[in-house]
């Protein structure tokens, strides 16, 4: 009984030429890649080129989770599975071709059941790809989800891959019809794809079978090589096979969307005004993007009809970069202004920096820092910004906080009047500082929250001091609006104050302050232990220093602030605190935790006005809150609270509360 096997290059003379052609095409592909590489390198240097050693280990883990297991892809089940099948199908077929090449050159051919399983798995690979491609074509051309944009490249790839797979089965079928199906019918079933075609061709003469086989074999090979060439030289979306893992390799390992400092003394370029002002990593991002549209789907600005789509922004920037490569790569005329038709100023200012885009991107494109870089250029180099932004930044510059003097009826230290609090005076030292933040000190509704927090901290016996009048803004609104120098001045000033008072620990109620002091101040010499009050309260509850005795008959939903959740991964403490309040029912919104929908207040938008005539982002979020049927929406961020208070129309049916207010209500002894 002959052992099942297959002759590599059966019926094909000069079959080994295909390897030669492959080598040539790979060579040309490498050339194409190199040309693109040179374009990326036109960008400014990036720190990440120094971290290669450290990244290798991390990358192996990433490969498992993100690349092989498709963690982020599968959040969208249909397209996740679609891509998973294509991906694994490709891996299988790649391995199969490698096995064939080894067989050819070593002479050792797989035999027997090993061969049969090999054949089955190879066919399976083809099926997976075909299934995935069919799902993809269906999704792209029939279902047509709004955020999926189609270009010619997509069609070319889908059609070619389909052709390659189908001709592959046809070739297999022709070979089986000629050599296998009659003598070894049981083998044929182990190549089911080919078996289907074999049965169709079964009645053709051997001569016809062989000539069709040759023809299709060369067609299949040349098409495959052609696609490799096309992909490499036209830099097709197919390149993502290499570029996207490369991008994941270089993904950000530091805090989310933390902008790089600008050296005031030495900087020649302020922000990004031309495509070459981006770093090479940011340019690489533009090629890693596969135009999938996930970011657009989750963007709160896009969802409320603002002109900003993160996908479009990245693709527009990519368009500028591609223009760069079509000119002579090193010619001096490679400078043209980026901002104008795409991305437009309106798009650049519409972003709230909520990071939903970055959280969902399967290839780790970093949208936010590009936007902040563009804002830096507009503000620092061109003095162009929306009037509402300019007014806020002037206040930052002149008064040390973003709230206009005449808008707020308070001065910075007013909230401390008549309270028994330790206010730091010159020369004082204290271990723990309660950093109140501008909103918590100056806006009435948020001052209520600050007062509530001080009462709760006192009830738990926490020893802390406040800066009172001496507190100025942490600098976040300025930094997110691109006014980097002002932020730097404020950061340095604050770090100085912290150091002078020998502060070790900073408690804050504002996630923006929390994020910037914890994650971004270290670059300016300030390393402190920063705690968000939800973390602190959870710790106190666990220690028994606080007891939530009072029941509150309320249905609540917790809204995850972007800067607490996505930026810093704090999701569970607030929920656990709320669950400890007796009689409370906690419901989750569909878009919660990492998928939380922004309140619209970040990125400077507490002050920068949203595009008139569009729904306010906070209104959209309140709609989602109302759908849960709860009577109270709880959050732990002053911006979120403010935005909700502004957007809740019927305050009798829905209340907005800060988490600490709920805690305090539960602490009070019932009277």
């Amino acid at each position: 009984m002959a052992l099942a096997s297959r002759e590599v290059f059966w019926n094909i003379s000069y079959g080994y030429l295909v390897y030669l052609l492959a080598l040539v095409s790979i060579g040309l592909w490498l050339y194409g890649f190199y040309q693109r590489y040179r374009v990326w390198r036109l960008g400014r240097p990036d720190e990440r080129s120094k971290e290669i050693g450290k990244r290798i280990g991390i990358f192996f883990r990433d490969i498992m989770v993100d690349v092989f297991a498709h963690r982020r892809f599968l959040r969208q089940p249909f397209s996740g599975i679609m891509h998973l099948t294509i991906f694994w199908g490709f891996i299988i077929l790649l391995l199969a071709s490698a096995v064939d090449a080894i067989s050819y050159y070593s002479g050792y051919h797989l035999q027997g059941s090993l061969y049969l399983w090999f054949s089955l798995i190879s066919d399976l690979g083809g099926f997976l790809i075909l299934a995935g491609i069919l799902m993809a074509a269906f999704r792209r051309y029939l279902w047509k989800p709004k955020s999926l944009n189609s270009v010619l490249d997509d069609g070319i790839l889908l059609a070619s891959i389909t052709a390659i797979i189908i001709t592959g089965y046809m070739i297999e079928g022709l070979r089986q019809a000629a050599t296998e199906i009659k003598p070894h019918p049981d083998w044929a079933l182990w190549s089911p794809g080919g078996w289907v075609f074999a049965n169709i061709f079964i009645d053709l003469s051997e001569g016809v079978l062989r000539s069709w086989h040759q023809f299709l074999w060369w067609f299949h090979s040349i098409l495959t090589i052609g696609i490799i060439l096309y992909s490499g030289l036209a830099f097709s979306k197919l390149q993502h096979i290499i570029v996207s893992p490369l991008n994941i390799f270089f993904r950000s390992l530091g805090p989310l969307a933390a902008p790089s400092p600008i050296d005031i003394e030495k900087a020649e370029i302020l922000g990004v005004g031309e495509i070459k002002d981006f770093t090479w990593k940011q340019l690489l991002d533009l090629d890693a993007c596969t135009n999938c549209g996930r970011c657009e789907e989750v963007c709160p600005a896009w969802a409320t009809s603002k002109p900003l789509s993160p996908r479009k922004l990245v693709q527009d920037l990519k368009g500028h970069m591609v223009k760069l490569s079509s000119n002579s790569v090193h010619s001096p005329e490679n400078s043209s202004s980026l901002i104008g038709e795409g991305p437009t100023e309106a798009e650049i200012w519409a972003c709230t920096t909520c990071a939903a885009c970055q959280e969902t991107c399967p290839v780790y494109v970093e949208h936010i820092l590009k936007i902040i870089d563009l804002r830096r250029h507009l503000v620092l180099a061109q003095n162009k910004m929306p009037e509402s932004a300019q007014l806020m930044l002037r206040n930052m510059q002149m008064r040390g906080h973003p709230w206009a003097g005449a808008q707020s009826l308070r001065l910075r230290g007013d909230w401390t009047t008549n309270l028994d609090l330790k206010i730091l005076a010159e020369g004082d030292q204290i271990n723990t500082l309660l950093w109140v933040g501008c909103t918590g000190a100056l806006v009435d509704r948020n001052v209520e929250v600050t007062l509530s927090l001080t009462r709760v901290l006192k009830a738990a016996g926490v020893d802390f001091a406040v800066l009172g009048e001496g507190e100025t803004c942490c600098g976040d609104p300025a930094r997110r609006a691109g006014y980097e120098f002002q932020f730097q001045l404020m950061a340095e000033q604050n770090i100085d104050i912290f150091k002078t008072h020998r502060i070790q620990e900073i408690i804050t109620s504002c996630p923006h302050c929390y994020n910037i002091i914890k994650n971004e101040y270290p670059k300016y010499g300030g390393q402190f232990k920063v705690i968000h009050y939800t973390q602190l309260l959870w710790g106190l509850l666990k220690q028994g220093r606080l007891n939530l005795l009072n029941g509150i008959h309320s249905t609540l939903t917790y809204h995850d602030p972007c800067y607490l959740g996505r930026y810093n991964g704090i999701y569970s403490e607030p929920r656990q605190i709320l669950k400890m309040i007796p009689k409370v029912t906690l419901k989750e919104m569909k878009r919660s935790r990492e998928r939380s929908f922004c309140c619209g207040g970040g990125g400077g938008h507490m002050w920068i006005e949203e595009q008139p005539g569009t729904q306010k982002i906070s209104q959209k979020r309140i709609e989602e809150v109302i759908q849960t049927g709860v009577d109270t929406v709880v959050t732990s961020c002053p911006y979120c609270l403010q935005m909700f208070e502004e957007s809740i129309e019927n305050k009798d049916s829905l209340k907005a509360k800060d988490l600490v207010e709920m805690v305090e209500l539960s602490l009070k002894k019932s009277s």
Binding site: I264, N383, L391, R394, Q397, F485
Partner: protein, 264 residues
């Protein structure tokens, strides 16, 4: 083109009205603690006007401020917007001057600096708001004076100034050198940014005393003031606001209309 801008440091005008306090005996305003003084609103507009001219015609901007030593802050602010040099005029003899005295001191400093084509001032100071220093300064220096500018253009050796009227604008042509006072209609001043901010951080701002500018102290004699303030007061408003009630905004509107019925 050399422009000299006169700027004044004033208590922050945008404090909550409830926090505004005066000392009637000393006849002074008491700024709330912890609120830093700022550059006078109209003077900042004057700096902006100078920067716009510099954007177009290159040249130089010099800023001077009569005040305390803290006035270096506002001069620095002007430099961070785009001015080149700045001086603070501080001397015991310069305290509590009226408009004539102020104009005299500024005039002396300007004569010391010399070589100017244009002098810019704010239309009035955001604090005492007398609104005269610019014009008197123009008189002292023998310059044509154009007030309430909302746009300034320079062509050859001539100025084209758009001036605010109650119901429109007029355009005035004048030869340089001239003095122009600037109003807020010129638009928002630019944000300090870019290279100018860097320059401002490092800049040395000299403080000039009376002897540095050759001021004749007899001109600044207290007894020679032209106007004096005899009293300052905060008017008490007697209106009690009647809040209109209603379950819905529409109901409130209806109630308001009936209250106003007699009036309209």
């Amino acid at each position: 083109m050399h422009t000299i801008v006169c700027v004044k440091q004033v208590p922050d005008p945008e404090i909550p009205p409830a926090k505004f306090k005066i000392d009637p005996v000393a006849k002074k305003v008491i700024p709330p603690p912890g609120v830093p003084p700022v550059i006078s609103v109209y003077d900042e507009r004057a700096v902006e006007a100078a920067c716009r001219l510099k954007d177009k015609h290159k040249g130089k901007i010099t800023v001077i401020s009569l005040g305390s030593e803290k006035a270096t802050d506002v001069v620095r602010h002007a430099i961070s917007m785009g001015a080149d040099d700045g001086y603070v005029l501080q001397d015991e003899a310069f305290e509590n001057l009226d408009s004539f005295g102020t104009a005299y001191v500024l005039g002396k400093a300007i004569q010391k600096i010399g070589g100017y084509d244009l002098i810019l001032c704010g239309r009035q100071a955001a604090d005492w708001g007398a609104g005269q220093v610019g014009s008197i300064l123009g008189e002292i220096l023998g310059l044509p004076v154009i007030t309430l500018a909302c746009d300034i253009q320079a062509e050859d050796k001539k100025l084209k100034v758009k001036r605010i009227l109650k119901d429109g604008f007029e355009v005035i042509e004048a030869p340089m050198p001239a003095l122009v006072t600037v109003s807020s209609e010129i638009g928002l001043p630019r944000l300090p940014a870019g290279m100018a901010l860097m320059l401002a951080r490092r800049k040395q701002i000299p403080i000039w005393k009376a002897k540095d500018i050759g001021a004749d102290l007899s001109e600044l004699d207290r007894s020679k003031v032209h106007t004096e303030i005899t009293e300052i007061f905060i008017p008490t408003r007697e209106t009690k606001c009647e809040m209109i009630s209603g379950a819905t905004p529409a109901e409130m509107a209806a109630n308001l209309v009936s209250k106003l019925a007699k009036m309209i």
